[in-house]
Amino acid sequence: MKISFPHMGTSHIAFKHLIENLGHEAVVPPTPSKHTLSLGVQYAPEFACIPFKILLGSYLEVLERGAEMIISSGGVGPCRAGLYGMVHEKILRDLGYDVELLIFEPPLRGIVDFLKKIGRVIRPNGIGWGEFIKIFKTSWLKLVALDETEILSHQIRPYEVNRGETTRVFEECLSLIDKAWTREEILEAKHEAERKLRAIEQKQDYNPLRIGIIGEIYVVLEPFINLDIEKTLGEMGVETHRSIYLTDWTRDNTVFDGEKDIKKAARPYLNQLIGGHGINSIGETVLYAKNGFDGVIQLAPFTCIPEIVAKSILPQVSKKFDIPVMTIFLDEQTGKAGIQTRLEAFVDLLQQKREKRGVDVERVSGN
């Protein structure tokens, strides 16, 4: 079968691995582009959020390339993304595509349905459960390798001497990991990627600002939508830490239903589920503040209710922990110039704050 899936950061490399090892043909979605967005905007309801539109555009692109099945994830709680799979399927059918959408809900919410859907993917090729688990573990390892390589790249980029080098090396690393097939090869590729990134010429005696990136999962993970915010900030000399990586998200929601620390940190400000990543945005801001970050940027799709609720609570957190927070709403109308201006101003603000704190500290110790 020709199977495809959404494009989300670098995860397509691991999903491709999984699908191909299960004996199917993977239709890798192209990196989202203006073309993807135009397709999505054309066929989506106007007030749907940007993740909906990009996903729809991606689906149309992979259908053109012959995909017969699309695998995606659902969601729980009062966020409309939980219904997106069904609406996508309806729109695609109305457009005349005969496609099967397989939407995986978190297994703890319905284990039978979850297993049935996996069966739907592995049975046609006669793959048993034991073999599936083995293949899944290797793909998971690949996903972890991708996430760890990316985390490292965001740590190194602010120190790079030659602007753009980290991004170029990171692309090479992705292709290394993509080519690795067995467990051993993946581990080897991960080490090689780490070696390459660490070999980048870096500034010494430099203490970059640190910004935590929080918000709704899809706009946080997909650089096309967030206008490459992490790369942009990195090249401005800022170290970013992203609250969400697919490997920890999947870990938390599938088996353990965890994120305990984040929810605990959020509890004094918000003690109930508001859907999406609303609670996380609050809890993560508290945790970033406690870990000495200079600031936090919240990324949200325009009209996203969970993030709007979080935004209106964040000023309290920001005040209590003395950590500046800036919110950026994203949709197809968002202009790069406006975002650039805000990012530069936010970085100036944080820099001044840090310098002032430095002066205060000196003054106290001088007494």
Binding site: P30, H35, R163, S312, G338, T341, A345, D348
Partner: protein
């Protein structure tokens, strides 16, 4: 010869130039309309400054800000290229050191900047809507047939300002026409427009911000007395308009250029004769991926000065 520091702010509606001296005093300032031709306007501005200052003031360093700050920066050879939020805050912290709130309303953007102890602690800019900006007033003034310069005076003469829906400038116009047809007088309608703009600003840009005194109001719209009065009425607080309210962004980067010169002792400023060179922008569509970015080349005479507009960075890196 006096040492001078040049600041240029090229925005969507206006282009402002300021020259300050060693002491930070404004030697000369200029406010021009950009009229969609930033390169020409910058050159006109430089030429004007040259006529006024050549032989008297030596420009030691230059800075640029505004939405065309990068373009301006490569054309004049700026030592500092700064976003307009920081530039405005810098200017205020020099002019009115104890200011805690800055209201800035320009042609197409409006911002609020919160300062505490002279440092920016929070800011916001209008995002999806321009109904709280100067262009909104421009539109309505021309609809009413009043020169924008007389708008404010007229508003101050109002006795019963009418309430006009100010969320969207098109609907505001419909509402305004409706009020005219009901028979409200011109003064009351004009004052109503001022209040609509202020309401929109406070509910949109100013949402959730702690607006403490001293409050500084700047940007081109600060020339409008009606808006100032509407702000004071809505906030119940006094609003200060700085002497150089219309060129504060340019003044801010002039200060920053001076700081940069004090630190480094050198400058990239190309001199007044830059105004005589020919600059042109040429764009092409990159077909490397489906994004089809429009990449822009900036030429000085035949030399490629800078290039931007690409998403992936492959074009920018070729130059640097």
């Amino acid at each position: 010869m006096l040492n001078g520091f040049l600041g240029i702010d090229v925005g969507s509606v206006s282009t402002n130039l300021v020259v300050i001296d060693d002491q930070g005093q404004v030697v000369e300032k200029l406010y021009l309309r950009t009229r969609g031709q930033p390169i020409k306007t910058i050159k006109d501005g430089l030429e004007y400054m040259q006529q006024r200052l050549e032989g008297k003031v030596d420009i030691m360093a230059a800075g640029s800000t505004g939405s065309a700050r990068n373009l301006t920066g490569v054309i004049v050879g700026a030592d500092v290229i700064k976003n307009e939020i920081t530039a405005h805050a810098v200017a205020v912290s020099k002019e009115i050191p104890d200011a805690q709130t800055i209201i800035e309303i320009g042609g197409q953007d409006s911002k609020i900047i919160i300062l505490r102890n002279g440092v920016v602690t929070d800011f916001a800019m209008n995002t999806v809507c321009a109904a709280g900006t100067g262009s909104f007033l421009d539109q309505q003034a021309s609809r009413l047939g009043i020169p924008i310069e007389e708008f404010g005076e007229l508003a101050l003469r109002a006795e019963n300002p009418v309430r006009i829906a100010g969320r969207c400038s098109v609907f505001a116009e419909s509402d305004m026409i409706h009020k005219q047809q009901l028979g409200h007088n011109l003064e009351d309608i004009v004052a109503g427009l001022c209040e609509a703009l202020v309401r929109n600003y406070l509910n949109n840009v100013g949402k959730g911000k702690e607006i403490l005194e001293p409050i500084v109001f700047q940007g081109g719209v600060a020339a409008n007395k009606g808006i100032r009065a509407a702000f004071e009425k809505a906030l119940g607080k006094r609003v200060i308009i700085p002497e150089h309210f219309e060129v504060m962004g340019a003044l801010g980067v002039a200060y920053l250029a001076r700081n940069s010169y004090e630190k480094t002792g050198q400058s990239k400023f190309k001199g007044w004769d830059t105004a005589k060179l020919s600059f042109r922008a040429k764009s092409f569509e990159c077909s490397g991926c489906p994004n089809l970015c429009e990449v822009i080349n900036i030429y000085q005479e035949e030399k490629l000065l800078a290039r931007w507009g690409g998403r992936c960075g492959k074009w920018e890196y070729l130059v640097s």
